[in-house]
């Protein structure tokens, strides 16, 4: 299974990528929503995308909206992984089409638990 990690922090991409690999996923990443969309348009089709909210160029909410507008990307599970913890922001992300929401800081177990809830585990 393939995971796409979208975060403007290279440290966070590294950390999340390591966690996802430890859970059996192959991992690709992108530093913002626009580059993630470009990767999708090039044919990369992840099973799950882990999406930060606050990013330059295209933020996570705009990415979620863009993905949900395309029928061919409907199968991608979207999980926000972000410091945005205001209830109103969580509601906005879920209403836009995100499936789950993880607030930074997180533990590897918290990520694994959310993936299990979503039924998205590589093994």
């Amino acid at each position: 299974m393939l995971a796409m990690v979208i975060d403007d922090s290279s440290a966070m991409r590294l950390i999340l990528g390591r966690i996802m690999r430890s859970l059996g996923f192959d991992v690709v990443d992108a530093p913002n929503g626009a580059e993630a969309i470009a990767r999708l348009q090039s044919g990369v089709l992840p099973d799950i995308a882990l999406v930060d909210w606050n990013m330059p160029v295209m933020d996570g909410l705009a990415f979620v909206n863009a993905v949900r507008r395309e029928e061919k990307w409907r199968q991608i599970t979207l999980m926000m992984v972000t410091t945005e913890s205001e209830q109103s922001q969580i509601v906005r992300a879920l209403a836009a089409g995100a499936h789950e929401y993880v607030i930074k800081p997180f533990t590897p177990d918290a990520i694994a638990d959310k993936l299990a809830l979503l039924g998205v585990l590589a093994y």
Binding site: S10, A11, E84, K104, P105
Partner: protein, 148 residues
């Protein structure tokens, strides 16, 4: 009246970030008071909306280097300036985002900025600060509010 998170709140949030990503030892961060060197590294995020202000994280260059080394899982001697900026920005973002959740909303959270030295925040005043040390190096976290 606007609720302002306490210095204890800032400390709890900072400890949570530290133990999650930087130092699994909860005793690694020690409450202290001391001086911050002039060549400190400052990471900052700004809030605008129901609460307008900033959350600032400052630490000595050795602490910033060690924090970046921990986040990137590399030796401190191998850390680059780019990695320091990335790490301090992300730490400020995590601390700031969690402080934001305790403040009146809705507010927008900026992308982080990282500078060496003092970051000027004109028109704001510091309303809370916690002084910590990590590996015997200073680490200060402060909350700023736009002057009304």
């Amino acid at each position: 009246m606007t609720y302002i998170p306490s210095a204890d709140d800032l400390e709890v949030i900072t400890r949570e970030v530290w133990t999650s990503f930087l130092d699994g030892d909860p005793a690694g961060l020690i409450a202290t008071s001391g001086d911050m060197p002039a060549d400190k590294i400052t990471g900052c995020v700004h809030l605008s909306g129901a609460y307008t202000g900033s959350i600032m994280l400052q630490c000595s260059p050795p602490a910033a280097r060690d924090a970046a080394a921990a986040l990137f899982s590399i030796a401190p001697g191998a850390v680059t300036q780019t990695e320091v900026v990335d790490a301090l920005g992300e730490i400020a973002n995590m601390v700031g985002g969690n402080v934001k959740s305790m403040l009146p909303g809705p507010s927008a959270l900026s992308l982080p900025s990282v500078v060496q030295g003092q970051l000027s925040l004109p028109g704001t005043r510091m309303v809370r600060e916690v002084q910590l040390s990590w590996r015997a190096e200073p680490l200060f976290v402060s909350l700023w509010q736009q002057a009304s």
